[in-house]
């Protein structure tokens, strides 16, 4: 959710899938980069990275400026001046809630936009419920799901699955349970591996 390369990688994957042209079924899995981040971190992403990595503020600002420029190249307007650094585990629960309704992809996109573009808080239940209600979900139902942490086990199961695969970073794409694509690769890479899988399926 807070990985800048994941949103960029999502756009590149989508471009690759379009280039491939065939049917592609997508399912997102949760991965926590920094599960000990507090929900209400008192500071900006620049402060957070500077404190965590011991990097000079100017260097972090330069890093974020660069990633913002790369995001712009794929049509994403990252707004790091208004990003709320937070713990995203409940937003992952919300994605699993949406998945249970058959609407995971829509929620994933909305939450990435909320975090990177809109400057919305994606760590607090009331803010997440507001986003869900905007998408047409029942307020009472989604509030109950998030307050009871009914989908927390699904989040943790995804994290465990990633560990089984040996995945250490994101974005990471598992294609047909056979191929692994790490990082925000170029669209052609995704198109090629999707074509490879389609050819293998046709041969079987």
């Amino acid at each position: 959710m807070q990985c800048p390369w994941c949103y960029i990688g999502k756009r590149k994957f989508e471009a690759g899938a379009k280039e491939f042209g065939g049917d592609v079924e997508v399912e997102y899995h949760s991965f926590e980069l920094s599960p000990d981040t507090p929900v209400d971190f008192d500071g900006t992403p620049v402060d957070y990275l500077s404190q965590r990595k011991g990097l000079p503020i100017a260097q972090v600002e330069q890093m974020l400026e660069r990633v913002t420029g790369i995001a712009k190249d794929v049509g994403l307007d990252y707004d790091y001046d208004h990003v709320h650094q937070t713990n995203t585990v409940i937003s992952h629960e919300l994605i699993h809630f949406a998945k249970s309704k058959g609407r995971q992809l829509e929620m994933k996109e909305r939450l990435l936009k909320a975090y990177f573009v809109n400057g919305e808080h994606v760590g607090r239940i009331p803010d997440l419920v507001a986003i869900a209600v905007e998408l047409g979900y029942d307020e009472a139902e989604v509030t109950e799901a998030l307050e009871s942490h009914r989908f927390l086990a699904d989040v943790k199961a995804d994290v465990a699955l990633a560990q089984e695969y040996g995945i250490q970073g994101v974005p990471f794409f598992v294609i047909d349970g056979k191929y692994g694509v790490s990082g925000a690769q170029e669209a052609a890479t995704f198109a090629n591996v999707l074509q490879q899988v389609a050819s293998e399926r046709d041969a079987n």
Binding site: C3, P4, W5, C6, I8, G9, L33, S34, T37, Y48, L49, R52, K53, M63, R66, V67, G69, I70, D73, L161, E164, Y165, Q168, G169, V170, P171, F172, V174, G177, K178, Y179, G180, V181, S182, G183, A184, Q185, E186, T189, N192, V193
Partner: protein
């Protein structure tokens, strides 16, 4: 390890940008590509 997690064949560039832990690397070629674009646009 069950059938769902058979070892993956890794494809693609090993230099693609990714986040590990709380740190998101920006590979050099991304930076250079962006500088090139800025030069093209007369921004630097």
């Amino acid at each position: 390890m069950d059938a769902a997690t058979t070892p993956l064949t890794i494809v693609g560039s090993p230099d693609a940008a990714a986040c590990e832990g709380d740190f998101c690397e920006i590979p050099e070629h991304h930076t250079q590509a962006q500088v090139n674009r800025q030069l093209d646009a007369d921004l630097v």
